[in-house]
Amino acid sequence: MALDAAERPVTLGAMEERQSRPSFRRPTTEGPVAKTILIALALGFLALFLVLPLVAVFIEAFRKGVGEFWGALGEPDTVAAIRLTLTVAAIAVPLNVVFGITAAWAIAKFEFKGKAFLTTLIDLPFSVSPVISGLVYVLLFGAGSFLGPWLKSHGIEILFAVPGIVLATVFVTFPFVARELIPLMQDQGTGDEEAAISLGASGWQAFWYVTLPNIKWGLLYGVLLCNARAMGEFGAVSVVSGHIRGLTNTMPLHIEILYNEYNFVAAFAVSTLLAGLALVTLVLKSFLEYRYGDEIAAAKKH
């Protein structure tokens, strides 16, 4: 491609001549017209289908002014929904972080039979509809189930209570951390840990001082995605929650109730919080990809 420029003696006159000529188009790219059309198509499509819904959330929320907006957010039921969402995420995300790290350790640091199958099983919740993710717990703990009567006689509430919501959220966000860490730790291999152990470190020390610093950005990336999904999950939680206002309503469920009551400003006001979370997630995610791209395996595979 650059042959002509390199081999011709570059004199001032030649350069001037080259600049005044109509620019030469490489054979491996499209013409300016096609280029402009493609960029316009891509940007137009993204603006219409992706950006417009995001912008609409904020505009609808402030439709009746800032006062209404804050009023809607101050409602006791809304505050309860925010608190429940934070509680559920605070339980579900750490559980899946512990699972993700242990699963990645077992899968990435050792060679054993059935590894590929185990990895497929870990990804399973991604291919299950959110509604079915909730349904499985209704079938497991519900009135007609094997466990249902026993739970009832012991006064343990799982369905239509917080434990059910946590379980459904754990199910839905199950693969996030693990699938981020497994390829990353596989890429990193076992050399560092073997060196640490041959120098006398215990297994824990090798993990704490060698592995964890190696995977911290990948781990943060997985936590970020896991948390966004945990706080925003709707279908699975909707099935197991029972929709009791102020008690078992998470933010997405509260949005649904407000919307169905035609309380649009309040519904969109609560939505702005989740949309804000989504924006923060995207910014942090892009930053991590940009700054620590090498330390986040599979960053582009989502």
């Binding site: 198509l41 891509a42 289908f49 992706l50 819904p53 995001l54 499985v136 209704v138 152990i197 989504a278």
Partner: protein, 286 residues
């Protein structure tokens, strides 16, 4: 020692000095079994309890059949639209430089980050007859919200990143020399794209299509607000599961769930096949 172990034949795992295999694998399998495998097997268990005739009756119930048809039909259309525009978006992001390219790249992931319920009410507001876009569509006689078209719009939103993020890394790996060779052999740009670039992208496009389709079929939150949920017209299968559960018709809900699970596992299997084929044929695993 290695020779001794090798002589012993079949081995579950290769020896290693790194500790913690038993603990981590044990915990992984226990947690996976408790959280995912036991609950999921409940669907199979409950379906088998129904017995074949009753299961068949529930599965062929006209409302169920219609809901499944609507779910798959709209998902198929949305996935096709996403393959076309997802490829264009990926191409523009990989090949062209323009101001704000990095921002546009980040925006593609928005559907992963924005909760489905938020997307749902927002799309419903935009495409409602008095909404920003719905108003204009109404002028040309198109009704988007509360019709199957609305479902397609929501599913396009949900599925786009799957196509872009599957195709984009493969596009980045395309060797420019192949295009130069095509050009020196006299192919014009269109011929190069059609006969040289697109065939190489085919496995990635197929995988992206299957991923978007699989996600769309199960989607619930972003669809129900814009769909209108009219039985036989715009009622999707996941919603029918919720309706059956609210009626305490667990058998009906389980039957639909079982059908959907079988189909999504088949699709998962298909995606794995495409990737294995792609690795053999093109040397990358889409």
């Amino acid at each position: 020692m290695t020779t001794l172990a090798a002589a012993s034949g079949w081995r579950f795992r290769r020896p290693s000095v790194i500790p913690g295999f038993g603990l981590t694998l044990g915990f992984t399998i226990a947690y996976l079994t408790l959280i995912v495998l036991i609950p999921l097997s409940g669907v199979a268990w409950r379906s088998s309890e129904l017995g074949w005739p009753e299961f068949w009756a529930l599965a062929t119930d006209p409302r169920t059949v219609n809901a499944l048809k609507i779910s798959f039909g709209t998902s198929l259309i949305a996935a096709l639209v996403n393959v076309v525009f997802g490829t264009i978006v990926a191409w523009v992001l990989v090949r062209y430089s323009f101001p704000g390219r990095r921002l546009v790249d980040a925006v593609v992931d928005l559907p992963f980050a924005l909760p489905t319920a938020v997307a749902g009410i927002s799309l419903a507001a935009i495409y409602a007859p008095n909404g920003w876009v719905g108003r204009w569509l109404g002028m040309v006689g198109i009704k988007a919200a509360f019709t199957p078209l609305g479902i397609v719009i929501a599913l396009i939103f949900i599925g786009l990143p799957f196509v872009v993020r599957t195709v984009q890394p493969v596009m980045e790996e395309i060797d420019k020399e192949v295009e130069e060779a095509a050009a020196t052999l006299g192919a014009n740009r269109f011929q190069t794209i059609r006969s040289v670039i697109l065939p190489g992208l085919a496995p990635a496009l197929l995988t992206g299509f299957a991923l978007a389709l699989a996600r769309a079929v199960g989607e619930y939150g972003s669809v129900i607000f814009i769909a209108g949920n009219i039985p036989y017209v715009s009622e999707i299968a996941p919603l029918l599961i919720v309706i059956r559960l609210e009626e305490f018709n667990y058998a009906g809900a389980t039957a639909i769930a079982a059908i959907m699970l079988v189909i999504s596992f088949l699709m998962l299997f298909l995606i794995n096949l495409i990737q294995a084929w792609s690795r053999r044929r093109y040397g990358y695993g889409a």
